[in-house]
Symmetry: C2
Subunit: 340 residues, 2 copies
DNA sequence: TTATTATTGTAAACAGGTTTGCAAATAAAT
DNA sequence: ATTTATTTGCAAACCTGTTTACAATAATAA
């Protein structure tokens, strides 16, 4: 209950100016030509009495909070929570703390969150942007605040960006399926206009086009609950009984889709092959195990953090934009099988 | 790039004292008997010029940061990321932001994190404590900082607490299995001394004892990777060929265990029944779907937040400790079946 | 007219750090 | 002995709010 020691307390107890204490604490004793003797005395006192500077005061005067925010669609999603995990490890090593917020993909909520975070003077922003917040992102960039978008970007709004080569992900997955002699290959995706979803669709279409195969696309509404998604997937499967393979554009679509496939009485992979975009722990466990287009989560987090940190520490000019496109890993498991 | 408006700017531009502006902004105009005319003038100016108070300065002077920290074992875990999601929704509604940190169950790291968070003056703490940080928790409580533990507690360290009735969870699961005529029922758990794990074990043991049935327990080392867990589970299953049911003490143990069961060539539920502690999205999707002892995530988050908020807003005395024990839901799916 | 009371708003201290510019004391140079 | 240079450290301003204690003016009462 006793108050924490402040720099003023130290100064007055040692009969020294607080500026002197501040210099010593920040390793500027030499530079400011404080005698070794005094430096020792102050350090010893601090050691004995356990001083920890008040970060708030520090932040107020330096303008740096050593906090970054992580604004994702939904923190409980597999992908985002794992990115969050890796980011935090990096932040920890570098003295940063992370505030997370879920945008729910709602531009209005996201705008408000950005404003609240600005009021708190977070040092940097890592964001999976919903469409419709272009102006706010531009404002951040304009005010020289480091912003890295990831997973998807905002066309026409240049920023730092880390993302997967989504196009290549579905392209190669489909190429693989075709190589297993599949001819009728569907894509189950979201009715989303976000870039990552469009890229995944484009990769799928391009691979089919290359082989003169017709596409079959099911678009699931973004707001669906699981049961609705399952039943829509089931309808789709039933009305396309000759489907030989399905590529799912997200891992949760795959989970619902697999349930639908099972309910349709079909067997994976003998009746139908399955590849999911975005790996998931349980894909290994499933019987049969599920092939996936994996996003290297740790690499993404590392790139994200590096880009941000370089700007936070002025190793790089704010105006220089960095875009990192990461190649996916096509992980083939038992849900895809050469058909004869 | 232009600096944000500060209360000083407003005051000088309107030729008014900053204290006056502060009173008006905080709705104390009446109380401080500022004339309606001046109040209007200031509010109009702010409306037009878009002022947002600097939270850092506010925090420094009020001592309140409107930040709470969420210290969990690992933010990417299904259980924790979902709790995080629900907590954030509540925090958002109440003007709080959440900093998350993963303890990795390492007491030393946790101690350091607590110190860092104290330096940042977070208003409240929500923690899943590793054993070994009793002193730090006591120090927090002693310094009148609101702390709510959850998922597990520290015996001998009284605090607010929200947890599941773990004992009852496994007890009822085992009772159910016995009612399906299972006689040889194993528990696969972690080699952990944390309270939630001990309670789950105790519930299992008590139910068996009540029916004079012998226990079979497999303890998986906490640090195991997935493959090792699968292979240890497989060994266990093979060396107990007459097992009729397994209760898994966590959902990840269940996932590995199910893989092991499959690899052993056994069929769920005809050969062996399965119940997992802690539900998981994919349990519905699995074929067969997996029965689970579900923790009501939203209810836990709500209780956690309520207890914390009541203290943050002084609706309740800091010294009065609140313990909430939530009843689990035994969700029976296809992985458990009456045997004949 | 003088004293009292309302009315309205302000100055200054405070929270706890950082940083700039200068002062005092001592040593060296002339 | 006086000037100059060097060493060492401090006072004060600043960051941006909140809050306490009081001041100035106008209105009312005696």
């Amino acid at each position: 209950m006793k108050k924490r020691l402040s720099i003023n307390d130290i100064a007055s107890q040692l009969n020294v100016a607080k500026s002197t204490v501040s210099f010593i604490l920040n390793g500027k004793a030499k530079e400011k030509r404080i005698s070794n003797e005094l430096t020792e005395r102050v350090l010893k006192f601090i050691e004995e009495n356990g001083y920890q500077p008040n970060q708030l005061a520090k932040s107020l005067s330096t303008g740096k909070t050593k906090m970054i925010c992580l604004l994702v669609e939904k923190i409980s999603d597999y992908f985002f929570s794992h990115i969050a995990y890796h980011l935090e490890a990096l932040a920890y090593k570098n003295g940063y703390k992370i505030i997370y917020c879920s945008t729910e993909n709602d531009p209005e909520k996201t705008k408000e969150l950005i404003n609240l975070l600005r009021a708190r003077h977070v040092d940097g922003y890592i964001i999976t942007p919903p469409n419709g917040i272009e102006a706010e992102i531009k404002a951040l960039v304009n005010d020289n605040l480091p912003v890295v978008l990831f997973d998807r970007f905002l066309p026409g709004t240049p920023t730092d960006y880390v993302g997967l080569d989504n196009y290549n992900g579905t392209f190669e997955a489909v190429e693989f399926l075709i190589s297993t002699a599949a001819k009728k290959i569907a894509l189950v995706t979201l009715d989303s206009q976000q870039t990552q979803m469009l890229e995944r669709r484009d990769g799928y279409l391009a691979a089919l086009r290359r082989h003169h195969i017709d596409p079959f696309i099911l678009e699931i509404p973004f707001e669906n609950d699981v049961d609705t998604t399952v039943s829509q997937s089931l309808d789709f499967i039933k009305s396309n009984p000759d489907l030989q393979a399905i590529v799912f554009a997200t891992n949760y679509l795959a989970l619902s889709g697999i349930k639908a496939i099972t309910e349709a009485g079909l067997h994976i992979p003998s009746d139908i092959s399955v590849i999911a975009f975005d790996d998931h722990d349980v894909f290994k466990i499933f019987n049969p195990s599920i092939s996936a287009i994996a996003q290297p989560l740790d690499e993404m987090a590392e790139q994200l953090f590096k880009i941000l940190l370089d700007k936070l520490e002025n190793k790089v000019r704010l105006k220089d934009l960095h875009k990192v496109i990461i190649q996916p890993d096509l992980i083939l498991r038992k849900s895809t099988k050469t058909r004869t």
